[in-house]
Amino acid sequence: MKSPPDQPVPAPQGGARHSVRADGWPKENGAQETDAPYPTNLDELTGLPGFGTWRGVYVFVFGSFILWVALLFVLTRIFS
């Protein structure tokens, strides 16, 4: 027997559809399109110089990871 969810979950409203992408996830930077209660326009901005979107931040983090791997590889090659 299926247990009910903890709290009633309202059926998706028309407005709610604007807050999700076609793949079902909340939009990253579509502040004007979201109606979720917690994100404000400011929440969606990164506020970082040079990074307009979170996608850019993630690419930077991934790039720094690749850089560390490359540096460790070089260190291994030089001193082994």
């Binding site: 979950v9 909340p26 993630y58 560390w68 260190l75």
Partner: protein
């Protein structure tokens, strides 16, 4: 340790705890107590996440790991940046949108009440068992090396963390972690600087010696499953473990959902994604430099001084003295060979350099053989001794070579690390017990003040459990491994609950609940019948739970419950 060291140690530990209590005095509502009123900035969140993960063992044992095995252990962290990106992009926005106190509330919203309770119960079981270890593991090393009573070390450090965590709640944990991490970083950087100053060789020569002894072999791209640390196991295994730990473990989730906004929480996670690998590299390099230091200075045969002295006094004295003399003689020979090696390098004589290096490596092999003999003798005299003395390398170096004041700072750093991770664990255990069990099951309609009081009592209870567990920990053999096994046995299924919740919308609450129970039963059955590395149970539990949930849901028909993206606060 002299009085100056004790002033530094006690002053910093008690001072930080009092500051945390003072800054968070008067918190009465549940949001402030469990989520710090969600007014915490990204830097504090980032440091808090880092401090929660890094226990005292990280700072005591990791340099020892660098000393023993070199930099290869850094590969274990390669999956972490990718996991944190995924958590920041997918998990975190959902937790914040639903405004949950615990990660398991999300399971209740996405699936149903029974799945929420199952996830929370698995967390409490696993983290509750591990809670004592966070106090016990550093206490056993520090009390052994400093000659303190183990039970008093456990009780005093345990009570200190219980007091400020109970009084100040989540915000006190985050605030104190910030200053505790400052002590830790200050101590580790100071130790590194003093080490470099004391090194008889310059940095280039030190790196040459370290590289010659294969201590700078940081990357291994082989597909050899028997190799403990490779690029691939670090990337895939690390991704899996980091997703479980950072994405579903309440001790971490509670840290980053306390952010003033989604932006602050995300930046806190990204700070960790960028800094964790260099931080681990630095700690391992510190251990490698201690190794180089001990190529020029006489190291002890066995770094666990207390166990060595015990063995000398009980039957093995003559044999151990003989081994010590042999070890010292080889060391003198090795020192000369290393000097020859570096002289040949400076002179540009490659042939002589290679020859001296080979001879130094051979001498090192002989000294390691003597160390192995010494270990056998120590174990024979004192069977309870840890077979690996690398945990004692860094603390031995600190006590023997660092100036007073700095010794106090380093011991304070180890205690700060123990307290910071312990505080986050207690905070999470108290929160989950209050929110997912007490409020959800037993008393749904009470006031905020009532839940804050309940949360304080539950946190206090878990603190006593942790202290009690740590006090009796030495009754169980190889306890740390036992707790790791318990974690691996449960972690896979917990991760699967969340992965299905986020990514497989067709699966509903009933299917995932029974799938989780079946997968957990399968893991138990395999654990008692197979002889494989316990780390595999993470993967087996997760894969089995996902597969079973799909099969059960196919039998039940289409899921009519909400997808994760359709949930609202």
């Amino acid at each position: 340790m002299n009085p100056l060291d004790f002033v530094v140690l006690i002053g910093s530990m008690v001072g930080i705890a009092l500051y945390g209590i003072w800054r968070t005095r008067g918190h009465r509502d549940l949001n402030a107590y469990l989520k710090g009123d969600q007014n915490i900035g990204w830097a504090t969140i980032g440091i808090s996440v880092m401090a929660t993960q890094a226990s005292a063992i990280t700072f005591i044992s990791t340099p020892g790991q660098g000393y023993q095995d070199g930099l290869g252990f850094v590969q274990n962290y390669f999956g972490m940046p990718l996991a944190l990106i995924l958590i920041a992009a997918v998990f975190l926005p959902m937790y914040r949108r639903l405004n949950v106190y615990t990660a398991y509330e999300f399971l209740g919203r996405r699936f149903d009440a029974k799945t929420r309770l199952l996830g929370a119960a698995l967390f409490l079981l696993q983290r509750g068992l591990a809670a004592g270890i966070t106090i016990y593991a550093p206490a056993i090393i520090l009390s052994t090396m400093l000659g303190w009573r183990l039970d008093l070390t456990i009780i005093l450090s345990g009570l200190l963390v219980v007091i400020y965590t109970v009084i100040g709640g989540s915000e006190a944990v985050s605030l104190t972690q910030k200053y505790q991490m400052a002590i830790i970083f200050g101590g580790m950087v100071t130790a590194f600087i003093v080490l470099l100053v004391k090194l008889p060789a310059n940095l280039t020569d030190a790196l040459t010696v370290a590289g010659g002894f294969q201590k700078l072999h940081a990357m291994d791209f082989s597909f050899d499953f028997k190799q403990r640390y490779t690029f691939w196991s670090g990337l895939l295994g690390g991704l899996f473990l980091s997703l479980s730990y950072f994405g579903t473990d309440q001790s971490q989730v509670q840290r980053y959902i306390s952010g003033a906004s989604l932006r602050e929480s995300r930046l806190g996670l990204m700070l960790n994604a960028v800094l964790k690998i260099p931080m681990q590299f630095f700690i391992l390099l510190l251990g490698v430099m201690v190794f180089v230091f001990y190529q020029f200075e006489q190291p002890p045969v066995f770094f666990n001084d207390a166990a060595w002295n015990y063995a000398v006094k009980h039957d093995s004295g003559a044999q151990l003295h003989s081994l010590e003399q042999k070890f010292d003689a080889i060391h003198v020979e090795k020192q000369q060979l290393i000097h020859n090696w570096l002289d040949a390098k400076h002179a540009g004589n490659r042939e002589a350099e290679a020859q001296a290096r080979q001879q130094a490596l051979a001498a090192n092999g002989r000294s390691e053989a003597v160390r192995a003999e010494a270990l056998t003798a120590v174990l024979a005299a004192h069977p309870g001794t840890k077979s690996n003395d690398s945990d004692y390398v860094f603390i031995t170096f600190i006590l023997d070579y660092l100036p007073h004041g700095v010794i106090g700072l380093l011991v304070a750093a180890f205690f700060a690390a123990a307290l910071s991770s312990k505080a986050a664990e207690l905070n999470a255990l108290g929160s989950t017990t209050t929110i997912d069990f007490y409020r959800h099951v037993f008393k749904p309609e009470a006031s905020d003040a009532h839940y804050v009081t309940a949360s304080k009592w539950f946190t206090f209870f878990w603190g006593l459990v942790a202290i009690g567990f740590a006090l009796f920990a030495n009754l169980a053999e190889n306890l740390i491994q036992a707790v790791n096994i318990v974690g691996s046995v449960f972690y896979g299924v917990v991760l699967a609950l969340f992965l299905v919740a986020f990514f497989i919308r067709r699966v509903g609450g009933t299917a995932i609940f029974w799938a989780a129970l079946m997968a957990q039963a399968l893991v138990f059955a395999l654990y008692f019948s197979l002889n494989i590395s316990y780390l595999w149970y993470n993967f087996i539990g997760c894969a089995a739970c996902v597969l079973f949930s799909l099969l059960i849901q196919a039998g039940l028909g289409p899921n009519t419950g909400p997808a994760a993206s359709e949930l609202k606060s």
